[in-house]
């Protein structure tokens, strides 16, 4: 090692020398040129003359600039005055306004029947409301609190769900919120499904879940389901179940962004803490989103939202976002500050970093249509060779944690099932692969794909670490391949990728929204398992938590045997703010509840 270091230093130094000597030659030559001139006095004076005159020319040119600059300075002077006054008024506003920097952007629309991206849902949560919602700081995500519904009860067979609605909730135009609005919202969501290119809001297909919605009375509504569904409350608490305003929500068509008309750009009923007062998009990415307090908010009396105005600013990547929060351009940076930045911002006194629990998981999928992964033993062998902890330590600096069950910790039914295979368990891997005739000379070779356009956090670095860990087994050789998000999806659908890393954000916080990933058809792993699906349906059909826990545990157990999909890690969550910002809850729901945030001085 040592001599190598020295050797390479020597080489570097050599190059340094070569380059610098090159420059030396050059400058020397310059000088010699000069000397040939200098030995003649007149030439020198002339040269100097030229020089000065040319400098004078530069002056003449810059003079113009300077002039205009001068004028500008003048204007600047009174500008400063104006600015001072402005800043004063800004300062006054400051306590009312929070500027949030983000790298997110609304992907498509704010129509609950179609929107399916984190940021879209985040905005929707601020400007509209669902019947029920998850209490802040809930550890399991199963502590539901009333929102537009005040109370609810469910039949023992989990098929009929009745909700009593809150009274005195009004839309901005004065319309009083009632059961018909609820029915309208869900009927619309279901009717729209065939008209939407991307299908129903992914994951939750209302048309499959809900049989019908009945208005029992002005303030009573009933959902009748097609099958017993214990996680239905979770579904109702998610953004796709937000209430829409019939005036702005046509039945058969989805609502898209329309420039200069924030209200018309979303079908949502403005019954949330905020209005959407400005929404500017340029070339289908957000430029400005401005939220103003909604005076009609049913909870306004108890002082919500605590901050009148929320302004979103949009940055192209995490490093510029970090620079912005450091420079104090923004009050709060939420999604995505990179782990590195988060950690060393944590050291600085000028900002606060808030740490929370994550529910975003990533997992490794195998293409089981063909060799090598049509053989379970190969999948298991590879799964055993993975080294989650080293990846988490290196790439996420410990801010995300190894995941040994597709259901993230904290949630009902989370297990450590995959620990059974261990991490970097090379002996096991080698023995398994040996059975199939793979060894140092004849390695198991396959392509490992990752998404390259930043759809998942540092996916390239992850991939590199996975590759490394697998190849350390000595009997596996991995070829890294990458594609941007669109191509990645199409590759997945055309099933050309041997092994590929995928990720999942919860639609609603319930194991029901995770467990199915093991065999989800849209992952195109070509894996299916009747027993697992039946167990899954049983878990759906019971409200008995202990029983559900067991059932999910069984599913995990089988997953370990099959390794159709191998859980990798669950992310952490963090937000960076100025020290004056308070009231941030980063719980398992991954929601940012802006109406709870306030400024202290």
């Amino acid at each position: 090692m040592w001599n190598k270091v020295e050797l390479s230093i020597v080489v570097l130094v050599l190059i340094g020398i070569i380059v610098s000597s090159g420059t030396m030659i050059y400058t020397f030559n310059t000088m010699s040129n000069l000397s040939t001139l200098t030995d003649d006095v007149s030439a020198l004076t002339e040269n100097v003359g030229n020089l000065t005159s040319s400098v004078r020319d530069l002056a003449t040119i810059t003079a113009l600039l300077a002039q205009s600059m001068g004028q500008l300075n003048q204007t600047l002077a009174d500008l400063q005055a104006r600015l001072a006054s402005i800043e004063a008024s800004l300062a006054a506003q400051a306590k009312e306004t929070i500027i949030v920097g983000t790298t997110d952007s609304v992907e498509l629309t704010l129509d609950p029947a179609q929107a399916y991206d984190y940021f879209g849902w985040c905005i929707m949560q601020q400007i509209s409301a669902t019947l029920i919602s998850v209490a802040p700081n809930s550890s399991t995500g199963a502590d539901f609190e009333p929102n537009l519904a005040q109370s609810w009860n469910v039949s023992s067979d989990l098929l009929t769900w009745d909700f009593t609605l809150r009274q005195g909730v009004t839309f901005p135009d004065g319309t009083v919120f009632n059961a018909t609005h609820v029915k309208y919202s869900f009927d619309r969501a279901i009717d729209l499904i065939p008209n939407i290119p991307e299908g129903a809001p992914a994951g939750l297909e209302y048309n499959k879940i809900i049989n019908r919605t009945d208005v029992l009375s002005t303030y009573k509504v009933r959902f009748v389901l097609n099958f017993p569904f214990s996680a239905f409350l979770g579904v109702l608490s998610c953004r796709a179940s937000a209430i829409v305003d019939p005036t702005y929500a046509p039945l058969m068509t989805q609502v898209n962004y329309t420039a200069g008309n924030a209200r018309g750009s979303t079908p949502l009923a403005f019954v949330g803490p905020y209005y959407l007062s400005t929404w500017t998009r340029v070339g289908s990415s957000d430029i400005e989103i401005r939220l103003d307090a909604n005076p009609h908010y049913w909870n306004a009396t108890s002082g919500y939202p605590k901050t009148k105005h929320i302004i979103f600013r949009f940055y192209s990547d995490s490093s510029t976002l970090r620079l912005a929060i450091e420079a104090g351009d923004i009050d709060m940076a939420f999604r995505h500050i990179s782990p590195t930045d988060a950690l060393d911002l944590d050291q600085s006194a000028t900002v606060n970093v808030w740490w929370g629990t994550g529910a975003f998981v990533q997992y490794l999928c195998f293409q089981e249509k063909r060799a090598p992964f049509n053989d379970t033993r190969v999948r298991v062998a590879v799964a055993a060779a993975l080294n989650r902890s080293s990846m988490c330590e290196t790439v996420f600096l410990g801010l995300s944690s190894p995941l040994y069950s597709i259901i993230p910790p904290g949630m009902l039914g989370h297990t450590e099932a995959f620990k059974k295979l261990g991490d970097a368990n090379y002996t096991y891997t080698r023995s398994l692969l040996a059975q199939l005739g793979y060894n140092e000379s004849n390695k198991l070779a396959f392509d490992l794909w990752y998404e390259s356009s930043g759809h998942y956090p540092s996916s390239a670095d992850q991939a590199l670490l996975y590759k490394e860990a697998l190849e350390d087994s000595g009997v596996i050789s991995v070829t890294l391949k990458s594609a941007n998000w669109a191509n990645y999806k199409s590759n997945r659908d055309s099933e050309i990728m041997d092994a590929y890393v995928y990720g999942w954000y919860p639609d609603y916080v319930d194991p029901d929204d995770y467990a199915f990933l093991y065999w989800a058809a849209w992952l195109h792993t070509n894996y299916s398992n009747a027993t697992q699906t039946t167990l899954y349906d049983q878990a759906r059909a019971t409200a008995n938590q202990t029983l559900r826990t067991q059932l999910y545990a069984q599913i995990d157990g089988m997953a370990v045997e099959q390794c159709s999909v191998v859980p990798l890690y669950v992310s952490g969550a963090w937000a960076v703010t100025k020290p004056t910002i308070n009231g941030i809850y980063l719980d398992i729901t991954q929601d940012m509840r802006y109406w709870l945030i306030y400024i202290t001085d």
């Binding site: 020319d57 290119p197 420039a259 340029v282 070339g283 289908s284 510029t320 356009s453």
Partner: protein
């Protein structure tokens, strides 16, 4: 021939070039492997829906028909007068009008381009002149060295360095965006913040928007100034050698008169043409600069659309770039004709 007739012919000459350009873009986008629609859509799109989408995007037609629609759409005057932008088809992702998106994104790029052009020429041309005047002197070599180095620096590298110095350490200038977050952007008239804010008579906004412009345009301008220096220098060296310059000197005219009135004014013609060509390169650099400074322009638009395989959008943006470049070169040529009496007469 007269200036007017020259301009007219020149305008007519651009048309075939444009048509060619459009055709190439279309082919590039269509000849590539895979069917855009099926590539684009997510899991749930079943065959029937895909058909709907194809129909909606007019991709169920044969290629030549698509081509025809595409050209026809571009020259559809009614559409233009109705929407205020040409028909570039619908985005494959959001089904919004690509034309609208592209036109809304373009001003940012334009503003960036203009200002960096100004910086580049304000820096490059005088330096080039000075270098050429003190030919082979230390000054000349220094300026030349500067030019060469700036040319070799990757745009985004320079951008990051500037961000770090002026944004993070000195806190003088914003590190991104077109205007200070706490200020509401000026109402869109031209789309150029600096211009709009002035039209609106709001100096604070002007101040803020120009502050935000400094770093990006400086980054791009510096890179470009290298080329300007080289161009100016060589052309000046050539003209300074011409007889009429010596003759002017022999008549005892002032040094500045000779340099600018004679040498530069004649060297200016070739410089002008080159500048026109450089504009294309500048737009290329703009893409990287926009990404570095979160500048919401056409470049960033393309980059984002690529990640969604939004073919129609990419095509639209590329066409927009093409149109713009064609326009610039047209203007340059007309300017040329105007400056050079030999054509003007």
């Amino acid at each position: 021939m007269g200036l007017r007739s020259y301009v007219i012919t020149r305008v007519f000459l651009t048309i075939p070039t444009l048509l060619l350009l459009l055709t190439m873009v279309f082919l590039v986008m269509r000849v590539l492997p895979g069917d855009p629609v099926s590539l684009h859509f997510e899991k749930k799109a079943d065959p029937l829906q895909m058909e709907q989408m194809r129909h909606l995007l007019g991709m169920d037609k044969p290629l030549w028909a698509q081509y025809f629609d595409y050209i026809a759409g571009l020259v559809d005057v009614n559409y233009f007068s109705a929407h205020g932008y040409p028909n570039l088809g619908k985005s494959m992702q959001s089904f919004e009008e690509v034309g609208g998106q592209v036109f809304s994104a373009f001003p940012a790029t334009l503003e960036l381009a203009i200002y960096s052009m100004i910086i580049a020429s304000a820096l490059g041309i005088p330096l080039g002149v000075i270098a050429s005047k003190s030919y082979n002197s230390v000054l000349d070599h220094l300026i030349r060295g500067f030019g060469t180095v700036t040319y070799a620096v990757p745009v985004f590298f320079l951008g990051v360095i500037l961000q770090l110095i002026f944004g993070v350490y000195l806190h003088w200038l914003p590190t991104g965006l077109r205007i200070n977050p706490s200020v509401v952007p000026p109402p869109t008239i031209t789309g150029l913040y600096t211009v709009d804010s002035l039209l609106q008579g709001n100096f604070v906004k002007f101040f803020e928007s120009s502050k935000a412009l400094i770093l990006p345009s400086l980054t791009l301008g510096l890179i470009l100034s290298g080329i300007f220096i080289r161009l100016t220098r060589t052309n000046m060296l050539e003209t300074l050698r011409l007889d009429f310059v010596t003759a002017a000197r022999a008549r005892g005219l002032k040094d500045s008169t000779v340099t600018y009135g004679y040498a530069l004014r004649n060297a200016f013609l070739p410089i002008l043409t080159m500048v026109g060509l450089q504009f294309a390169m500048l737009l290329g650099g703009a893409i990287l600069t926009e990404t570095t400074f979160s500048w919401p322009g056409l470049g960033r638009y393309i980059v984002q659309r690529i990640n969604f395989r939004d073919y129609t959008a990419i095509q639209g943006a590329v066409v927009m770039f093409g149109l713009f470049v064609a326009l610039v070169s047209l203007i340059v040529d007309i300017l040329y004709a105007y400056v050079d009496p030999r054509i003007r007469m």
